[in-house]
Symmetry: C2
Subunit: 255 residues, 2 copies
């Protein structure tokens, strides 16, 4: 399934280390599912969450957002519509370029291990067919330009974020995403706290083709609307999906 | 002038700190000019080189490849067809993401200073017209995914390159350029020495849309052909343009 970002205004972030809510009808009205978390994520629980959600809402794209290559396997790649890989502007070198080159080096080097032995024509080395498989796999990966704005979050610690960006720097990173790096998504992440609308306002000024996501502390319809009105293309809602389905329902914009 | 990378097989790298050769007919047959160098470059000598070359070959795109924002001004931006900004995969954090966010933050913050007071509608702040100017300016900038493979070069020192990449890592960086970052160019740079064809062979395996450039030590038609035959879309020739025009002529492929 190709992701049509134009139609995405509500994203559900599913932490595979947590239980899904018993009643998945709460997912009515969300436009995209991102599966990933900071602690306790495994390849197995990722796969379980993806399959359960996909069975319930096969019409909605499901993306894995792995923070380790150990969470990715032939099965997870087959099960999801896309892999979202974060590029953290205000993180350390590993989290902007280092890990990415490692990932693509690995993909290029070992297409058989990554894609499984069932792929015809791929042996222990990259031959013509292997290159096609690698290209197909790589094309399933898209980048998210991230700014992590909550220094207390696990996401910040993990990505080596030591300083938050000013709104002007957020605007600069947004402009760089739109015109320099080719990421389809720019993500303002307040991870667990509500950051208000100023970063979204700054970023949206320069964003036209890029999808602008805001995540962090969205626990009411008012906050979801405020962020969307400030220029975000979509809100990302995570915690209350697991903890408080009624609140979660309120964050889904009326159509 | 839009750059049609499909037609580019020979790039001339002009160091504005060096004298141009007295006879510019040597430029017959080259497809693109990159103006930039490591030492002694200024905004003034950049502008002088760009104008002299453009007067002689107005049909060939001229790009500035600045290594400092002090070499960029309203005049240089107006004079060139595009600005090429290097993103050095094996460099330090500043040379992949740090400088870029700074640059785009600066562009977003001060469109008046960058674009000059002659731009209508741009005051001391970004208003609607200002955003358009910023977007236009930003769209003149393109990224070059670089791998610097000569640790002894000034380019390596400047970009904080401490290790060269293996051919597998070069392939990974090429694949990342093609499918993850949106740079139109991937550049294997041996800066002053001839690196042979193995990196180009590794990179070309995964490159389809991206233009693959090789630069470094090209001082004969044989070396130019070897690199092109190995899969480079174009060779970049610098030193001998200034030092030895007859050798330079030999590096231009016959049509």
């Amino acid at each position: 399934m190709t992701i049509d970002w134009e139609t995405v205004t509500h994203v559900t972030k599913v932490d595979p280390a947590k239980d899904l809510p018993p009643d998945l009808t709460v997912l009515e009205g969300t436009d995209l599912i991102l599966v990933g978390g900071s602690d306790g994520v495994t390849e197995a629980n990722t796969l379980e969450a993806v399959r359960e959600i996909d069975a319930y809402r096969p019409d909605v794209p499901v993306c894995q957002e792995p923070n380790s290559s150990t969470h990715v396997s032939t099965e997870t790649i087959d099960a999801v519509d896309a892999l979202a890989v974060a590029a953290v502007y205000n993180g350390d070198r590993e989290h902007f370029v280092g890990k990415h080159v490692d990932l693509f080096t690995e993909i290029g080097r070992k297409p058989d291990e990554i894609t499984g032995s069932s792929v015809p024509g791929v042996g222990g080395f990259v031959e013509s067919k292997g290159v096609d498989v690698v290209s197909d796999l790589a094309s399933k990966i898209f980048g998210e330009g991230y700014v992590v704005q909550n220094l207390e979050s696990t996401a910040a610690t993990r990505a080596g974020v030591e300083t938050t960006y000013t709104p002007e720097q957020v605007a600069g990173a947004a402009l760089a995403t739109e015109t320099f790096y080719g990421f389809p998504v720019f993500y303002v992440e307040y991870s667990g706290t509500y950051g208000g609308t100023r970063d979204v306002e700054a970023a949206s000024r320069y964003i036209e083709e890029t999808t602008l996501l805001y995540g962090g502390g969205i626990d009411s319809g008012e906050k979801a609307s405020a962020v969307l009105d400030a220029g975000a293309d979509a809100v990302v809602v995570g915690d209350c999906f697991h903890d408080d389905p009624e609140t979660f329902r309120e964050t889904i914009p009326d159509r």
